[in-house]
Amino acid sequence: MRAKTDSPTAGSGSSLRLGTALLLLQQAGHVWPAGVQAGSVAWLQSAIDGLCELSSRDALTGLANRRQFELTLASEIDRVARTGEPALVLMVDIDHFKAINDAHGHPAGDLVLKAIAQVLGDCIRPMDTVARFGGEEFAVILPNCPPLFGQAVAERIRLKIQERSVSIGGGMEVCVTVSLGGAHAPQWVRSSPTLWVERADQQLYRAKSEGRNRACLEQPPSSLVSPEEKGLLFGTSRFQDLT
């Protein structure tokens, strides 16, 4: 059924202004449940659900947006703190994206972003979340993801994107690569979303500075103290400033 967009009435009639909301829903192709009376509670619920869905998605790629990403990340932190399951966050950034925009224009850049979004969606399990983090940066949340699997999935994403050529119109195709940075939520430890993303970002920074088109995952913290560290700790005279 198609909802009227002119003068919707919900409950108390003219007090609700739904014009913009209904336009947005229409533009997004919202499907109204069959047999529901416009203005009824079920109708209003469907509109609210549609708007929630809309406000949690990135308009260009259809992926989860930054807001939805942060909600999912927060609930994943809670889950990890409770269950101790390994969970991974991957930050994915397109290499030299600005060059594509500069050379072929922003519409071409948009096509690349959509294509990458699609590849990312194909590389993950239903329980995972792929989000557009901002600009040409994407983020993936992988619950219950042991370290070895994490490295494999990051590598798979990198290769799939490298193999993919994107048609940007006019018979032209471009290929892009991505850099990935990943960090596991610290198991058994109460962490925060900010810290988790910061750690993954740091690995992304490392992947970029090591030459791009690669995946760097944070290594588990080591409490081993190397001979070099011990050497520095005890080697020099630590009481030199006392005498």
Binding site: L71, R82, W188, V189, T194, S223, V225, T236
Partner: protein, 279 residues
């Protein structure tokens, strides 16, 4: 995509640490006392530091977070009938288990030898977080006396705190373990400001020298692993406690140094450490 989960009110938008105790509402500052190596005086420091803070007018709680092998009761000469274990198993209320210790502060004891807590089950973690969340608003300062080592339980207890105090002695093994602890906390929990106390120093200035040496190794080996974001990783030196025969004597008698011998050099050092901690 699932429906959005309700945001957890216990987590601030930019929450760094101490997330367990909730944000916004006024609550005490949570300080974890840890060391890596055992037997360096963690519980001794926690108890006497609590007494020094209480003497400044703070409402202080020491929580025995060494769940598997706790000995705060031994140090304070308390014979607790009720412990955290009884709270966890609903055998008493939280209020009943909070005891008044000599020295004017409160304690939540774990009871010794509860082997079942030496591993972190989801249940234990949730219980501990609940307890801390509940008591935090009632105190100005909560000291978490953690166990030795860098086990799951210790790292977890530290992760519930706003700040970490690492205790070391000039012994090479203690310095090595303190360094390993700092390294793990800096990389895993992104701890930045880590406070340091050096116990059992035989020469004035030794503590500061040890702090400088640790900082040197941190700058060289740890900072490169955690750089590029936020504040620098700095060891904040709170003070040193001299080796003092009186300490051994009061410990043997199971009395608080600050009560039994408040005028001794070691007691005065702890008062100074409390002042710097409270700043």
């Amino acid at each position: 995509m699932n429906t959005p989960a309700a945001p957890n009110p216990a987590r601030g938008a930019a929450a760094g640490h101490g997330a367990a105790a909730g944000h916004g509402a006024a609550r005490g500052r949570i300080t974890a006392v840890t060391s890596g190596k055992g037997g360096v005086g963690k519980t001794f420091l926690s108890a006497n530091l609590a007494a020094a803070l209480a003497a400044r007018g703070d409402r202080v709680l020491v929580l025995d977070a060494d769940l598997g092998l706790a000995n705060l009761d031994v140090v304070l000469n308390l014979e607790p009938k009720l412990t955290l274990h009884d709270v966890f198993t609903n055998r008493c209320t939280l209020d009943q288990a909070i005891l008044e210790a000599p020295g004017g502060f409160s304690v939540l004891l774990a009871g010794s030898g509860l082997v079942e807590y030496s591993r972190l089950t989801p249940d234990v973690r949730e219980q501990l977080e609940r307890v801390i969340r509940t008591v935090a608003p009632r105190f100005d300062r909560i000291l978490l006396d953690t166990g030795a080592g860098i086990s799951d339980v210790v790292l977890y207890a530290v992760s519930l705190a706003d700040e970490v105090l690492v205790l070391a002695t000039p012994e090479p093994t203690s310095m090595t373990d303190a360094y390993a602890t700092i390294k793990v906390l800096a990389t895993q929990q992104r701890r930045r400001a880590i406070r340091l106390v050096v116990n059992q120093v035989s020469q004035a200035g030794e503590g500061r020298a040890i702090r400088n040496q640790l900082q040197l190794v941190i700058d060289r080996f740890v900072v490169p692993q955690v750089e590029a974001t936020g504040e620098p990783l700095v060891l904040d030196f709170l003070g040193e406690i001299p080796t003092d025969a009186n300490v051994r004597e009061t410990v043997q008698k199971r009395r608080l140094l600050l009560e039994a011998m408040p005028g001794t050099a070691a007691a005065q050092a702890i008062v100074g450490i409390a002042e710097r901690l409270a700043r």
